[in-house]
């Protein structure tokens, strides 16, 4: 079976933080302990939405050493395909759900002399777990967190109260912005940068760090893409000899799974590379949306990441 190991959990808390973000707490149905994890890890949450099974990755934000429960925070995306909306409207305390074992694609580099964290919006969540891990080990870290407004500043109060000297908050609606030039210029040797937030923020930090000569290995980022809706299309699966239809609101990976074909995956957000699939034939345009394939691979149309990418055209045949 594909994906990480599964855990049956019960929802024990649903806590709205502001008009967009709600926190969920999961405890194991078995009554035992959950696996420990490392800061930056995510879990894939299974949502049974009528006939559709949605699998969305969310960063674990609780203390990695607390094995009694995991917590995640979900930002409602009204433009999206409905996963976050499902969490906000259909999930309540007492519900049983299935989540995956923790998977970390955004790990701390423990060699770092200092961890410089840059968060945008809901991108704060992995840092909450990393901060707990680093505090336990007396690690050296500093957080710069940009939010749209005070009202939407999830966990700002908690962070500024517990770590007044290490946390810096910036509100967009007050025209506050991270002074990246100064910030990146003044860091001690051995500092690593971690950035999690909207694509624009990640690109901005990576470009600036590269421009002023930061080693590529010292800049870490994570952005899960949500699969975007698009025009329906037809795909032929060569190995399993099936022709499937991908609906407007489902991803190619979901359509493959719906047809009963076991396809590998981990993050379902275009980041981990696990679902990479060979294209046998493509007459039309593959809409590549992942962070995994190199630009040259995308141009060649020989591979596709079915978790987030789509197709428009006449014929698409996949080696699956």
């Amino acid at each position: 079976m594909s994906g990480a190991e599964k855990i049956a959990v019960r929802v024990t808390e649903v806590a709205p933080l502001n008009e967009l973000v709600t926190r969920f707490r999961f405890e194991p149905v078995s009554g035992g302990l959950l696996p420990t994890f490392s800061g930056g890890a995510h879990t894939v949450v299974e949502m049974r939405d009528g006939d559709i099974t949605r699998l969305n990755p969310y960063s674990l934000m609780s203390d990695p050493f607390d094995r009694s429960a995991y917590t995640i925070s979900v930002r409602r995306d009204d433009e999206g395909r409905g996963g976050s909306k499902f969490m906000h409207t259909n999930v309540s305390v007492g519900d049983e759900m299935v989540i995956s074992n923790p998977v970390n694609l955004f790990s701390l580099d423990l060699r770092a002399t200092k961890h410089l964290m840059i968060a945008g919006g809901i991108g704060i969540t992995p840092f909450l777990a990393q901060i707990k891990q680093l505090d336990r080990a007396h690690g050296n870290w500093e957080l710069h967190y940009a939010c749209r407004s005070e009202a939407l500043g999830s966990y700002v109060d908690y962070l500024t109260t517990t770590h007044p000297n290490d946390v810096n908050i910036y509100y967009d609606d007050q025209s506050q912005a991270i002074d990246l030039d100064t910030l990146l210029d003044g860091q001690p040797l051995g500092t690593h940068i971690y950035v999690c937030g909207p694509k624009g923020m990640i690109d901005w930090v990576r470009a600036k760090a590269a421009e002023i000569g930061w080693p590529r290995e010292a800049v870490h980022y994570e952005e899960f893409l949500a699969p975007q809706p698009g025009k329906p299309f037809e795909v032929k699966l060569a190995v399993s000899n099936k022709v499937i239809q991908v609906g407007e609101q489902e991803s190619l990976l979901e359509a493959i799974e719906r047809a009963g074909v076991d396809a590998p995956y981990l993050c379902r957000g275009g980041a981990c590379g696990q679902c990479e699939t060979d294209v046998v034939q493509a007459e039309g345009e593959i809409i590549h949306r992942d962070h995994w394939l190199e630009d040259s691979e995308k141009a060649g149309d020989a591979k596709i990441m079915p978790c987030v990418s789509r197709f428009e055209g006449k014929v698409l045949v996949l080696d699956r």
């Binding site: 490392s38 990695p64 590379g273």
Partner: protein, 359 residues
């Protein structure tokens, strides 16, 4: 089944020996009559009863003596155990993984009692009963990785994962097939595999790395690897090549059956939860040719594999000079009959050896 721990040596008079039970559970590495490198990974989730696959960390009749041999190697050469500063957390991960696994899998031999961070570890075969504070190095006689690997058979490489690569940043390596932790420490996956012939061209390492980077918590993997060793030596290290390399020249047609050993590594891979590092235990099993030949299927197959192995591999594995003598010996156990697929001895179903006419 109760394990009778041997009192034996892997040096000097070489009193190491396998019981009949140990021979039957020996991890014979060839699943067909030929061999070539492959990413032959499978999930490590148990296996047939009493096989080396059954438990997460196999404990066998050689346990106590192997740990004594490790202590001797470390006393001579402390650099066989190294942990770069950022790997201490992974060391605690490994200590926890082994203590939890062994106490669950062998409750009659090992006990772990946890009260918050206060842990008590009882290792009956080695006579250890220690109480310590989890994550507090000052409460153990060694660092966490060294402490637990002095009590666990097999070498341990603890690999940091970063930049889409694995890095040999910690380990305890005293039973190795001619490679050196001290030389490889800090290297990445491609660097430490650089000397292996043929596999790079076949793209084996690119695919293997991709597989390993994706090993997840709770889903360990395993594979077998093999080489040849003259005399039952655990420590065939480059550091001591001047002591053991020369022994390869002592083989004679008379002593080859007892001196020549097939050396098999059960390699397993576990994701470590707190550090996101990967631990790579490499467990060495030794079996003499004479003992292997008591299993007719293995006799037939070993002859065919060694006969047809590419020169590059026989050279890399260090037995090209002795191959003719091995084949003289092994051919007597190959009557040309077909063999069943898979690694298991199949003693009940495979035919006994027909008399082989010497040529």
């Amino acid at each position: 089944m109760t394990i009778q721990f041997h009192k034996e040596t892997f040096r000097g008079e070489y009193s190491f020996h396998n019981s009949e039970r140990a021979i039957k559970r020996f991890p014979f590495p060839f699943d067909k009559d030929s061999y070539m490198y492959a990413v032959n990974m499978e999930q490590h989730r148990g296996g047939p009863a009493d096989s080396v696959y059954e438990k997460r960390f196999d404990v066998d009749e050689h346990y106590v003596s192997e740990m004594e041999d490790r202590a001797l190697v470390l006393a001579d050469d402390p650099l066989r155990c190294q942990s770069l500063p950022h790997m201490t957390l992974a060391g605690w991960d490994l200590l926890e993984l082994i203590m939890v696994s062994k106490s669950e899998d062998y409750p009659e031999l090992f006990e772990l009692h946890r009260d918050g961070d206060q842990w008590r570890w009882v290792n009956k075969p080695l006579g250890i009963d220690d109480t310590f504070t989890f994550m507090d190095e000052t409460t153990l006689p060694y660092g966490p990785m060294e402490y637990i690997t002095r009590q666990t058979q097999g070498d341990f490489c603890v690999l940091d994962q970063r930049d889409d690569n694995l890095w040999m940043d910690a380990g305890t390596v005293t039973t190795q097939a001619d490679w050196s932790l001290d030389f490889d420490i800090g290297m990445n996956f491609f660097e430490w595999h650089a000397p292996v012939p043929l596999a790079h061209e076949k793209g084996i390492f690119v695919r293997a790395l991709k597989f390993l980077l994706n090993i997840q918590q709770g889903a360990p993997a395993r594979r077998l690897n093999w080489t040849m060793t003259v005399n039952p030596l655990l420590d065939t290290s480059p550091e001591n090549y001047h002591k053991w390399g020369i022994q390869k020249t002592t083989l004679t047609p008379e002593n080859i059956g007892s001196k020549q050993h097939l050396r098999v590594e059960l390699q397993t891979f576990f994701r470590l939860p707190r550090s996101n590092a990967l631990v790579f235990p490499i467990r060495c099993y030794l079996c003499s040719f004479d003992d292997l030949m008591t299993v007719p299927k293995w006799g037939r197959r070993l002859h065919r594999v060694i006969r047809d192995l590419p020169v590059e591999l026989a050279t890399y594995k260090g037995f090209i000079d002795n191959r003719p003598m091995m084949l003289d010996y092994l051919s007597k156990f190959d009557d040309g009959q077909p063999t069943s697929l898979g690694i298991w001895p199949d003693l009940e179903t495979e035919p006994p050896l027909k008399v082989v006419r010497s040529s």
